[in-house]
């Protein structure tokens, strides 16, 4: 494995960008098949940041101006395809950084990313990926355990102590559940029903919700992609559920509203602050730009990856290199700090000891048909 590809190489392999110097940024995610919607959203964030940077004349490292070229490859969510894609990105495009939005792919890459020398920008909340001691991995999404006390206290106070657990049947949903339940019980709550919903296999959620509701819960813990999660809310209401919802951070209240029709139905749901309602410095502009560019509502998947690319670019500046992943990794904290104010869709002060972004968390709940911010506990 040869490292230090020269800038000449970079320029040669770049197939976009008008400038003389090009940095290729790799991306491998599901762009076809059932998970494509997710892959596209993550990719859109990266691309949007790249386009903005290029439009502003690129960025300067050691006196040279660089343009960014995002090279994206489809991996159909399959780890072996991610590995093949990464090999290709590194060999043919000399990408110092590869974004990938699923833990399977990340783990397949971690087998060789230190020998092949590239940085994994992992959009996955799986804690293990940074616990294994891989030095060239950055975990982008925030840790969700920060949400748990606030969520718990809010719904417990407002609705009661009986919780039925119905999150998505993914690793993410399971991790969430594992973190939430001990805390819920410690606070004197009771878990009356616990299962998961597989949105890739279930046609109808009536069966599951009927079973959950027969235990008379006060609160449902739900989550997954926003739209099917919203369907769960709707069907729960149809079946007569009057209580509140803890909404796992993957689902967004605003997107759910679009499915169920109004915030009324979501009354008593607590989740992350929707990007469109967010008051963070970069958020409104981002939402607007995103809508203009993709004709769709921005989501946190896009926003975090957008933010991450800015952070990487700033880290390259700070490290004075565009092709030494280790140096870039070392300067991530500086990079995060240097993100222009108007690009801070979220505020991420630093990379934590576990190799993940430590975001400032904002929580919101639906009260009387309106989204209101909720004070974070602790």
């Amino acid at each position: 494995a040869c490292n230090s590809p020269t800038t000449n190489n970079n320029a040669k392999s770049g197939n976009g960008g008008g400038g003389d110097n090009v940095v290729n940024i790799g991306y491998s995610g599901p762009l076809s098949g059932p998970a494509a919607y997710y892959g596209e959203r993550t990719l859109n964030g990266v691309k949007m940041a790249a386009d903005e940077i290029n439009k502003n004349g690129g960025f300067e490292v050691n006196g040279k101006t660089y343009q960014i070229n995002v090279v994206s490859l489809d991996d159909k969510y399959l780890p072996n395809e991610t590995a093949a894609n990464a090999k290709r990105l590194v060999q043919e495009h000399h990408t110092p950084i590869i974004f990938t939005p699923h833990s399977g792919g990340v783990m397949a890459l971690q087998v060789f990313n230190q020998t092949d020398n590239f940085l994994i920008a992992a959009y996955t909340s799986e804690p293990k990926i940074t616990q294994t001691g891989n030095k060239l991995t950055i975990r982008i999404p925030p840790r969700y355990d920060g949400y748990i006390p606030t969520f718990t206290d809010y719904v417990m106070k407002r609705f009661g102590k009986k919780l039925a657990v119905l999150p998505t049947a993914t690793q993410y949903g399971k991790d969430w559940t594992e973190k939430l339940l001990p805390y819920w019980e410690k606070q004197g709550g009771e878990v009356v029903y616990n299962t998961s919903i597989d949105f890739t296999k279930d046609t109808d959620f009536f069966t599951i919700i009927t079973n959950a509701l027969k235990e008379k819960p006060d609160v449902l813990f739900i989550g997954g992609p926003s739209e099917p999660t919203a369907k769960v809310v709707k069907q729960a209401r149809e079946l007569g559920f009057k209580g509140g919802f803890i909404v796992m951070d993957q689902a967004k209240l605003d997107e759910m509203k679009r499915v169920v029709g109004s915030y009324e139905m979501l009354e008593g749901a607590i989740g992350v602050m929707p990007l469109v309602e967010s008051k963070e410095p970069g958020a409104p502009q981002f939402v607007e730009n995103y809508r203009a560019k993709y004709n769709a509502e921005a989501s946190s998947e896009s926003a975090y990856n957008y933010l991450a690319l800015y952070a990487f670019v700033e880290a390259m500046k700070a490290a004075g290199t565009v092709d030494d992943p280790a140096a870039i990794r070392e300067h991530m904290n500086e990079g995060l700090k240097n993100i222009p104010k108007d690009k801070q869709v979220y505020v991420v002060p630093k990379v934590g000891d576990d190799g993940g972004f430590e975001s400032k968390i904002i929580v919101a709940a639906v009260e009387n048909g309106k989204v209101v911010p909720i004070e974070l506990k602790k």
């Binding site: 596209e40 069966t207 499915v259």
Partner: protein
């Protein structure tokens, strides 16, 4: 008891959707011996066309369904003409792979045209009805009722009309059908028309309770295959009964055994049935 009946109703709803999908699949299988793996894609297209007809052309739900059934039916016909007709003498494996090619294409096509996102299909029948502690929405009643109506119509069509009989005849000997003056090409096209129409109907009925997205066909297709095997390949009553068996086994299995393992239950039932009756429940004797 109330729970049991509620779950029966839930099973009936899902079972109806499964049956409709399986019917189209079993028709094509029974008549043209094509295991159409692209049937799930037809289902998906059905969802999108109805949605588009409602949102873009402003058609009412019912009319949009009809448009969708015709459009997807024609898509099925196109598939038959362009792909399966040239493959009519090839071994069955070829149909499978060709169908997978179509499936990949249609999913990519939907993603290209409508985007990869989840979309919601509104329905005028969203009202909730509660009787004796049982909850149903009008949409669910609609699903169950229209499935029953469609099944009866299909049965009458196949059993009581000459055109229907010609479909069955062709299922048994394509050349024989030719020799008695049946235009086998027309019958093949009609079969795909029906099959596509049924898929579109199923999708249009089911979408308001779920969502429309490029991968939605995956929700039903594997189960539909299980169903038609369960019922005996090509058997119409088999597809109907199989659909409901699967619907009930899911809802009752999730209630009384384990929600996480309910899919396994359904598949294990199938494996057991096939182990005991290697040709399915409604298999016909003969050699």
């Amino acid at each position: 008891m109330e729970l049991f009946i509620q779950q029966l109703l839930n099973g009936l709803t899902v079972g109806s959707v499964y049956s409709l999908v399986a019917l189209g699949l079993t028709l094509v299988y029974g008549i043209l011996h094509i295991p159409n793996f692209a049937h799930g894609a037809l289902y998906m297209m059905g969802g999108y066309v109805t949605l588009t007809a409602m949102s873009q052309a402003g058609l009412p739900y019912g009319l949009a369904i009809v448009v969708s059934m015709v459009a997807v039916g024609l898509l099925g016909v196109l598939m038959e003409r362009l792909v399966f007709y040239p493959l009519r003498d090839a071994p069955p494996l070829h149909d499978k792979i060709a169908a997978i090619g179509i499936l990949l294409f249609l999913e990519a096509f939907a993603q290209y045209v409508w985007g990869a996102d989840y979309q919601t299909m509104p329905t005028p029948y969203g009202n909730v009805i509660t009787v004796f502690g049982l909850t149903l929405t009008v949409q669910r009643i609609l699903i169950i009722a229209s499935t029953v109506v469609i099944m009866i119509l299909l049965y009458l069509f196949l059993k009581k009309t000459f055109i229907g009989a010609s479909i069955i005849a062709m299922a048994q000997s394509r050349e024989g059908a030719n020799l008695v003056g049946i235009n086998t090409n027309k019958v093949a096209m009609m079969t795909f028309l029906l099959s596509g129409g049924l898929a579109a109907l199923a999708a249009s009925l089911a979408s308001p309770i779920n969502l429309v997205f490029p991968g939605m066909g995956h929700l039903v297709i594997l189960k539909a295959f299980v169903i038609i095997i369960l019922g005996g390949m090509g058997s119409i009553p088999g597809a109907i009964v199989g659909g409901y068996i699967l619907g009930f086994s899911e809802s009752l299995g999730a209630t009384y055994v384990s929600n996480d393992y309910k899919d396994i239950i359904a598949f294990v039932i199938l494996v057991i049935i096939l182990t005991v009756k290697p040709n399915g429940l409604f298999a016909k004797e003969g050699h």
